[in-house]
Symmetry: C2
Subunit: 260 residues, 2 copies
DNA sequence: TAGTGGTCTAGACCACGGG
DNA sequence: CCGTGGTCTAGACCACTAC
């Protein structure tokens, strides 16, 4: 009972549950409203808590729910559209672009980053192969939606050798200022699914492993790849937009009511 | 035992497990190689099978593993870069673009689709509000990477009224042919995380609910939105690329060895 | 038929947030 | 402090694949 039975291919309970909950969300709940707790929901639907959680996980993945330990499960607002394409055919760090400088440091690049920069092997011995790593955060509508690591090879910003700015936003600003002196010839972008590293998760106010959209951007000058950015967007709350796309709503119709 | 213990902030077992497995994958396994089964792995690490599965799920989400019921868990090849941007500033259906026509039908649009098309309310009463829905499939390197539903309002392709082509690729071809007669003024794109609907999952050879990247594209003519495409890409195997981005590898360094 | 991953259960304890 | 979601266990059975 509770689920259709005479099916030749019985659908999993959690899948059926997800459908039922999804419809209930559309009809009986307002954005921000708190759902009954997991133990009660499980009892109400006659399933184990783990099964109920499997359904909730799916709904959270689709951006319909938001769960916070110690608080409860709430109905999520529609995903916010975040412009990633057109408006930024320029170096990172333009004023008022929604990004906030967090920190900067100088390290040796990982193999993966070195490969993206394409400078690992054709640099003379003894040359400084360190990169400046700038940490930024993107805020939209009062919420942190992305954490970014920008990698700038020391060779791209020679003016910075022997920089003595202390760690922090000031140092990050200095790196970006130097970068903006170069002539940007083009850029490159890719998007894939990932899970939040511990440090990114902290910035995004999520648990480690939360699903994120990894946006990797390469910035080209005539000399090659001058910088690489790896931005980690919250997959639950964000919809990345390219081109002139504005506030379009897809996937489902949200309620406009908001819980008091 | 098996996990660090004297931590002030003990990390979850599955998280630690994921890290260990991830390193083992880099060092001791080749692409395509089959891992020991879940019950044995769980025993080997001294955890319950559910905990082990939580770690495997994460690794699958990151595109490092591939699991198939009845077969086993194998090491996934690096994600394939799929061009979504530049090369297609034209109507869908260009020859040799990697898309294969599957089917076509004529239906009433859902509320969400109608909103995307922006034609729901400003159409005179009695006008044909049906849309042609064209199903396509994208194949890359012998593998289906995406399933698409293309929505074309009847008003965009008046030449098709009273079409009598049978359901199938032929009918789909007819719709696209009519669409290509219009002048494309621009397009719009957004990417978000979703979970595969049952029908898409079948086309993608995944289970329902599998994580996917939803790419929504709007095609504009001088008259407004002439068509909308909702493409469902496998999130586990695909990296969407925009611009001239080619075969870049991010996130981690794969082994180039391949299992015999 | 044997072995795999997928689903499900009924418990337990823990970490966090707010009164 | 209590209630929440997060983690974990030790089982069970099912659906699928390949032999």
């Amino acid at each position: 009972m509770g689920t259709k039975q005479l099916e030749s291919v019985p659908e999993p309970k959690y899948w059926h549950l997800k459908t039922v909950l999804s419809e209930a969300l559309d009809q009986d709940f307002a954005v921000g409203e708190v759902l009954p707790n997991e133990r009660e929901l499980a009892a109400r639907f006659g399933v184990a808590r783990a099964t109920l959680r499997q359904a909730l996980e799916q709904l959270e993945l689709e951006g319909r729910l938001q769960r916070r330990r110690g608080v409860g499960t709430t109905v999520a607002p529609p995903r916010v559209g975040v412009a990633v394409g057109s408006t930024q055919h320029d170096w990172p760090g333009e004023a008022g672009d929604g990004w906030q400088l967090v920190d900067a440091a100088e390290t040796l690049p990982s193999a993966a980053v070195a490969k993206l920069l394409g400078t690992a092997s054709n640099v003379p011995f003894g040359t400084d192969q360190t990169v400046h790593t700038v940490r930024r955060t993107r805020v939209t509508q009062g919420q942190v939606v992305a954490a970014e690591l920008l990698y700038v090879p020391g060779s791209s910003v020679p003016g910075l050798s022997g920089i003595d700015a202390p760690a922090g936003p000031a140092r990050a600003r200095a790196v970006l200022r130097e970068l903006q002196r170069l002539v940007l010839e083009g850029q490159d972008r890719s998007v894939e699914l990932g899970s939040a590293r511990a440090d990114d998760a902290k910035e995004l106010d999520r648990l480690p492993g939360a699903p994120v959209l990894l946006v990797t951007t390469r910035f080209f000058t005539a000399d090659g790849t001058a910088a690489v950015s790896v931005a980690t967007y919250r997959a639950d709350t964000c919809r990345l937009t390219f081109g002139d796309s504005g506030d379009v709503q897809i996937s489902h119709e949200p309620q406009t009511r908001v819980a008091s």
